[in-house]
């Protein structure tokens, strides 16, 4: 269990990550704003508490793997990775720029630690399932040689972060069937249930509810959390780790754009970045805790 002060520290870290997200999107001049802000608490919890990882050794073979299926929210991942020490925070400002390792949608070979290439929706859960299946096949992990000698038991977990809107893709339901059939207990899926997608509200575009029952029907263990309650999310990850017979999905109810009042719950912020003057205003809002700390005003 985390102490209250440890939770506070994580919450502060999430604010810093939100600030970085605003800065990088303003610098990029394009990209998605609402999703990354909405997932800042969860990515903070992952990179600063839940994950077994080593920012200085991104290819450490025992690390937990995070497959980001909805690649468009990658700014939150880049920001969390930078704050965790994978690369300098200043590099975040190269997002979407020519020659950058921080591609608009993540690419495995560009930046160590992103685990896989994604962007087109609905195929991250399959990749995570394949990875989890392969890891489970090896009671003793083979090194790179073909003889199977040596190595250790695979103990890492595979996480897959998905959006809610991408559940309209058929490929994802194929993956749900596969993971359920194969009881991939080393797989934990996390859904950013923020109810928006580019064209509007998910329930208007193509309804997903009852999402919990759908996963349960596919033989998944389902947890629902407040996606901005870090302690609750961490507890869910712990519970998911303890479930042996099924893959677990954590439906994280989030507010798109969380932390910036003007962006919150507005689907029009799904796919556009703040303009420079908006960015300044939003950073002020974050750094002054909504105007409470006037000395922070620049």
């Amino acid at each position: 269990m985390l102490s209250d002060s440890e939770i506070r520290d994580l919450e502060q870290k999430a604010v810093a990550i939100r600030s970085t997200i605003i800065e990088m999107l303003v610098a990029a001049g394009s990209g998605h704003t609402a999703g990354p802000l909405g997932m800042a608490d969860i990515f903070t919890a992952l990179y600063f508490h839940v994950l077994k990882h080593d920012p200085k050794n991104p290819n450490w073979e025992d690390r937990d793997r995070v497959m980001l299926s909805n690649g468009h929210i990658v700014p939150v991942r880049y920001a969390a990775m930078a704050h965790a020490g994978y690369f300098p925070i200043e590099e975040c400002l190269t997002l979407r720029k020519f020659g950058s390792r921080l591609q608009g949608h993540p690419e495995r070979e560009k930046l160590p630690g992103v685990e896989t290439t994604s962007g087109p929706l609905g195929s991250g859960l399959s990749q995570a399932s394949g990875y989890a299946y392969a890891a489970r096949m090896d009671p003793i992990r083979e090194p790179s040689a073909s003889n199977g000698a040596g190595g250790k038991k695979n103990t890492f977990r595979v996480f897959c972060v998905m959006s809610d809107g991408e559940h309209q893709e058929g490929n994802l339901w194929e993956a749900m069937l596969f993971a359920g059939k194969n009881k991939l207990s080393n797989l934990t899926a996390i859904i950013d249930r923020n109810n928006i997608q580019i064209d509007g509200m998910t329930e208007n575009i193509m309804p997903l509810e009852p999402l919990r029952e759908k996963y349960e029907a596919f033989n998944w263990h389902v947890l629902e959390v407040d996606g901005h309650n870090i302690a609750q999310f961490i507890a869910a990850c712990d519970e998911a780790d303890a479930i042996y017979e099924k893959p677990t999905v954590i439906i994280a109810h989030t507010i798109p754009g969380k932390g910036i009042k003007e962006i919150e719950r507005d689907f029009r912020w799904h796919g556009k970045p703040p303009k420079p003057e908006e960015g300044k205003k939003f950073l002020d809002e974050l750094r002054t805790m909504g105007g409470k700390i006037s000395s922070e005003h620049q």
Partner: protein, 344 residues
């Protein structure tokens, strides 16, 4: 004459052994599986007809049944390859890479992980199943994709070797196989290397003769090279046999790797001065297009393309479909003469 270095079967023109190239995949996957524990085979509910069942019987723990879900099969395989496995994914080419092209593009090719996509039942020779199952666009789909190697074996033996080689190459690979029994032309000793083409038939003087020598022998200037891929290479050889009787110097090159294309093709084409391509695929985007792209940059020459001419197939017997869609021996003969006639 047959190129002795190709070590082809002796009875290539007299009742050669017949076997479908998919059998070569079945054998090759088992051999690859024995050689490397990382090899796994995924099947989308077609293990008997894709021959994935041969691997299944040998290595039940490394065989994964995916159900009728080709998009998931490609992406699960991408995840497995990302982990360190060497997955072969098996289905009909019409469905994989037909249905799961984007998944292959993003999670295999761009992700650059070594998944081997095995498309069975390629071509009109699938026969009675009809146009829906006669995949004629697979090479075009996969050839346009960066990082992707594309292989189209000419017979079951070459398919076996290609399967083993694909497991070792460490890159994304697409391989196409046929349903129908076709002549086995190559032997265990026939060289195979990804990216290399192989001369199966050559003029009597090993290479194209100098023009004056041809005059001395009372031969014509006529010469042509036929680049074939897949089982239709046998038809190309039958055509070459006839062309030689008509004093036309001919070379038949088996182009098993469509991508990357063997650059040796440029020199051979220059020497021949006229080119015919032969494939059981749309002429748009397949071997013919690949060779035209290569030669237009390096040696613009008349090219006649044998293949399906921008149309879908239909139900029928394989042999009659091959004839109907213009891929028979007589069509190759006519194309060779037309290419020669177009020489300036």
């Amino acid at each position: 004459m047959l190129n002795p270095d190709a070590k082809l079967v002796a009875n290539i023109f007299e009742k050669p052994e017949m076997a479908p190239t998919r059998d070569g995949f079945g054998k090759g996957s088992v051999e690859a599986g024995k050689a490397d524990l990382r090899v796994v085979v995924l099947s989308a509910d077609l293990e008997e007809s894709t021959r994935a069942e041969w691997f299944h019987k040998e290595f039940p723990d490394r065989y994964i049944e995916m159900g009728v879900a080709e998009q998931n099969m490609a992406t699960v395989a991408a995840g497995m390859a990302n982990y360190g496995k060497i997955p072969f994914i098996t289905s009909y080419a019409a469905f994989s890479p037909g249905r799961n092209w984007e998944q292959i593009r993003t999670t295999i090719a761009l992700n650059n992980v070594p998944v081997i996509i095995c498309g069975m039942h390629a071509g009109v020779s699938v026969g009675p199943d009809g146009a829906t199952h006669q995949m004629l666009e697979d090479m075009a789909l996969m050839r346009s994709m960066p990082n992707m190697i594309v292989i189209s074996p000419c017979d079951a033996e070459e398919a076996r070797k290609a399967t083993i080689a694909a497991a070792k190459v460490g890159k994304p690979v697409y391989m196409r196989f046929g349903r129908e029994k076709t002549p086995v032309m190559t032997t265990a000793d026939t060289p195979f290397e990804i990216g290399k083409s192989q001369i199966f038939w050559q003029p009597k003087g090993l290479t194209f003769s100098e023009p004056q020598q041809s005059h001395e022998k009372g031969l014509t200037f006529s010469r042509v090279v036929i680049f074939g891929t897949g089982p239709l290479t046998h038809n190309a050889l039958l055509a070459a046999q006839q062309l030689e009787k008509e004093n036309i110097e001919v070379m038949v090159v088996n182009v098993a790797t469509i991508k990357p294309l063997d650059e040796k093709i440029i020199e051979i084409a220059k020497q021949a001065g006229a080119v015919v391509t032969v494939e059981e695929h749309q002429v748009n985007g397949g071997l013919g297009s690949a060779i035209a792209e290569l030669l237009s940059k390096n040696a613009p020459l008349p090219i006649e393309m044998i293949g399906v001419q921008n149309q879908f197939g239909q139900s029928g017997q394989p042999a009659e479909l091959i004839e109907h869609y213009g891929m028979g021996v007589s069509h190759i003969l006519a194309a060779a003469k037309k290419a020669i006639a177009r020489k300036s």
